[in-house]
């Protein structure tokens, strides 16, 4: 056995640095004293304190996946325009925190030159919350960054302007695990598998516990069996709804498949309590095949949803609120999306989603 070398004491469980270290003086001085805020123009906001202090925020879009070179470029901008203070948002935007109003426009020009658009505030489409996709995930049914890039290239004017009836939040998850709140988004792009997992018996024996694979299945589609005298599992294919939970607990149940994987689109979710209660997104488009590198069918479908909503919604009406007012039959009619068997829920408590009244429009 090798000798353990004496070394510097290893630090553990120190937690993150205290946030106060990174707050600009204006925030420390006005912490909890802010009186109101106002969006001055796309991506620019002033927050005013009861002391009269004014903090300017400039928000820019980002691809979430950043090189250290880009982070250093952000740091340089922060030094030049706001004494080195910046933050990131829950939707992957970067925000620069300024006290000198005259530096706002030069900073916007510098961000433009760096290729990062300023916007994403108020009645706009903010950056798309998304997952890793083929860049770094083993269970993805589609790429994340590529779809997001193609969709945002198409919708960028809705990021840099504020001309929508309300805010619109788009999110993408590359499989049903949904790392991120895509299930409560105005528009959710969700990667889905559509072929049952194929059991790799040799690998299963070596790497998985059969009882945990069996119990991982929410529809009891995975059953223990004995094959050639060896314990294994089988998949009752008609019971599989492709959640991939068995694959998550056991690598010997691969479910990824280029022919059958693709994208579904969901609409009308929200997390805010403003006006209406938070809502889940509902299925709009069951399946669009993966078409890299730019997923034109997904881009077109999302644009159609954004524009039909933007043309018809009332001021402040989020996608789900608009649909609740007009009803789903008119939603499908106005968007031109065909309504199919799979739109009707058949999982648990499906009955609560049936129309149980005669409140219909003709």
């Amino acid at each position: 056995m090798p000798e353990v070398q004496p070394k510097q004491k290893r630090k553990t469980d120190i937690g993150p640095p205290h946030y106060e270290k990174f707050l600009p003086p204006i925030i420390k001085e006005n912490y909890g004293k802010w009186k109101y805020h106002e969006v001055l123009k796309p991506g620019v906001m002033v927050t005013v304190s009861e002391t009269g202090a004014r903090l300017y925020t400039v928000r820019a879009g980002s691809p979430r996946l950043l090189s250290i070179d880009k982070i250093r470029a952000y740091a340089d901008l922060a030094d030049k325009y706001c004494n080195g203070y910046l933050r990131f948002t829950s939707r992957h935007n970067v925000e620069f925190l300024l006290t000198d109003e005259s530096k706002i426009d030069p900073l916007i020009r510098a961000l433009d030159a760096l290729g990062h658009p300023v916007g994403g505030m108020a009645n706009s489409i903010s950056s798309i919350v998304h997952t890793q996709g083929w860049v770094h995930c083993h269970s993805s049914a589609t790429d994340a960054s590529g779809v997001v890039k193609a969709v945002m290239d198409d919708l960028i004017l809705y990021f840099t302007e504020m001309k929508l009836p309300a805010k619109l939040r788009i999110a993408l998850a590359c499989c049903l695990n949904m790392c991120g709140a895509v299930h409560c988004s105005d528009i959710a792009i969700l990667g889905i598998h559509r072929r049952p997992p194929k059991v790799n018996r040799d690998r299963l024996k070596a790497t998985c516990e059969i009882p945990s694979v069996v119990s991982a299945c929410p529809t009891a589609a995975v059953r223990p069996v004995t094959v050639d005298g060896q314990p294994s599992v089988e998949v009752i294919e008609e019971r599989c709804m492709f959640c991939a939970n068995c694959f998550t607990v056991c690598p010997a149940m691969p479910i990824n498949d280029p022919l059958n994987d693709g994208v579904s689109i969901w609409v009308g979710g929200k997390v805010s309590n403003a006006r209406s209660e938070p809502m889940f997104s509902k299925l709009a488009i069951p399946f669009i095949p993966n078409n890299p590198p730019r997923w034109p069918e997904v881009v077109e479908a999302v644009r159609n949803l954004v524009e039909v909503w933007a043309r018809n919604a009332r001021k402040y009406e989020r996608m789900g609120e608009w649909i609740n007012r007009i009803g789903w039959p008119r939603f499908f009619e106005m968007t031109g999306i065909p309504f199919e068997k799979v739109h009707i829920d058949d999982f648990k408590h499906a009955g609560t989603t049936f129309k149980r009244s005669t409140h219909l429009t003709y």
């Binding site: 290893r10 553990t12 937690g15 993150p16 640095p17 270290k21 802010w34 805020h37 903090l55 879009g61 691809p63 979430r64 996946l65 090189s67 250290i68 880009k70 982070i71 740091a75 922060a78 080195g84 203070y85 910046l86 990131f88 948002t89 829950s90 925190l97 658009p117 860049v135 770094h136 083993h138 993805s140 890039k149 193609a150 960028i156 998850a173 049903l176 949904m178 709140a181 895509v182 299930h183 991982a216 929410p218 939970n245 690598p251 691969p254 990824n256 994987d261 997390v271 805010s272 309590n273 403003a274 006006r275 938070p278 889940f280 993966n290 890299p292 590198p293 402040y316 999982f347 648990k348």
Partner: protein, 402 residues
């Protein structure tokens, strides 16, 4: 020394267009870093094959920690040897995602030395993500991170890295100090955060008001959402200013009130605060004129999750109102009771929301010692299938005494 430049005709298409390109980011890193270069190659292959080329998981970590590192291995290690292992390091972000240029540069220096030079700012749960390095680099990276004052975030069946909105740092609507509570909970649960010991993940998310900018109600097992109990603060002069500037107060503000608790007579706004459900709409619409009341705190909701395993859930009300001030004893006592019950009785990969569905909310409340209140339900039960635990017998003592 960087490897030869790869041909990536598919990914090159994603350098076009005006939105910032992740491909440009990977290519920038690839000029100096062989891992980033092989990532580019493998990703191009995924675009050709329409499938991920990452293998399933693999347990790696740093000494003494059960979480914080996501193991990742290429399924094409011969072709892309520099990403044959390409593990993610989750770094617990500072609350509210505030940084200085100085600390960001130091983080970049660490990652230039030890990893791919690629990051996520940030991951969905909130961590700062160092995207991809080899197993041998994990421990050295960790040591440099802790020297800089940073630590790993959560992964697996542990307390995941708590996250919050910017709260009182930059928002007038914060009804409690989200960043202070996030820092407190993160420090209080360091052991639970770094050493997975639960049936499944546990997420805390702190939003300062019911606008819920961190989507607490949709994705955290415990959603702590700021709210208030007294009257909305009204600045009448500012209301008049909004009306003068063209805001249609009747239609856009009063007309959108879900509680129908507001009236506007063309001059003054009247609010029936007893009926107000604290939705935030009127305050969002006129931030200079209206503000949350002064008796501020939070509503604690429980059980949100994405679909896996039994279907997605939104959090539901557990404690309708709580004052959140240090040392937060009432909150941690509650959390500990829940953790104890769920850790003991939850099934493998059962989030607390699913656990509650399985055992029943009534039983759950009883077990953690919280009284049921009507705020916890959208409406009482619609079915008569009540599990009464006791009933009278003909000759029981109770009957004789009655």
């Amino acid at each position: 020394m960087a490897e030869k430049k790869r041909s990536t005709p598919q990914l090159d298409e994603l350098e076009k267009g005006s939105w910032p390109s992740f491909v440009k980011e990977i290519k920038t890193a690839a000029e100096k870093n062989p891992m980033a270069n092989d990532l580019l190659g493998q990703l191009e292959r995924s675009y050709e094959d329409k499938i991920s080329h990452w293998k399933h998981g693999g347990i790696v970590g740093v000494l003494g920690y059960g979480g914080g590192i996501i193991g990742r291995y290429s399924d094409l290690p011969e072709e892309f040897p520099n990403v044959s292992h390409f593990h993610t390091i989750r770094i617990n972000q500072p609350a509210g995602w505030f940084y200085t240029s100085d600390v960001l540069r130091k983080l970049c220096d660490i990652w230039e030395k030890h990893g791919s030079g690629l990051t996520n700012m940030h991951g969905s749960t909130g961590d700062l993500v160092f995207l991809g390095t080899k197993t041998d680099e994990l421990e050295p990276t960790f040591n440099e991170l802790t020297d800089l004052g940073f630590d790993l975030g959560g992964s697996g069946s542990d307390v995941r890295t708590p996250s919050c909105c910017c709260g009182m740092a930059r928002c007038e609507w914060a009804c409690y100090d989200t960043m202070a509570l996030t820092y407190f909970l993160t420090m209080h649960y360091q052991d639970e955060l770094h050493r997975p010991a639960f049936p499944y993940k546990w997420k805390f998310k702190m939003s300062g008001c019911p606008n819920d900018c961190v989507a607490a109600i949709a994705r955290s097992d415990m959603s702590i959402i700021g709210t208030w109990r007294d009257d909305i603060q009204v600045d009448e002069a500012a209301v008049t200013e909004y009306a003068k500037s063209g805001v249609d107060i009747q239609k856009d503000v009063v007309g959108n009130c879900p509680a129908k608790c507001m009236e506007w007579d063309g001059k003054k706004i009247k609010i029936d605060n007893k009926a107000c459900v604290k939705c935030m709409h009127c305050i969002n619409a006129m931030p200079k004129a209206l503000a949350p009341g002064k008796d501020r705190g939070a509503c604690i909701l429980i059980g949100a999750k994405a679909p896996i395993v039994e279907g997605a859930l939104l959090s539901s009300v557990l404690i309708p109102f709580i004052k959140l001030v240090p040392p937060y004893k009432e909150l941690t006592d509650l959390v500990e009771k829940i953790h104890e019950l769920w850790a003991e009785n939850g099934k493998n990969r059962e989030r607390v929301g699913e656990f509650i569905q399985r055992i029943g909310m009534g039983n759950f409340l009883e077990a953690i010692g919280v009284e049921p209140t009507p705020e916890m339900v959208a409406h009482p039960r619609e079915n008569p299938y009540v599990f009464y635990e006791e009933y009278f017998e003909e000759d029981s003592e109770d009957n004789k005494n009655a």
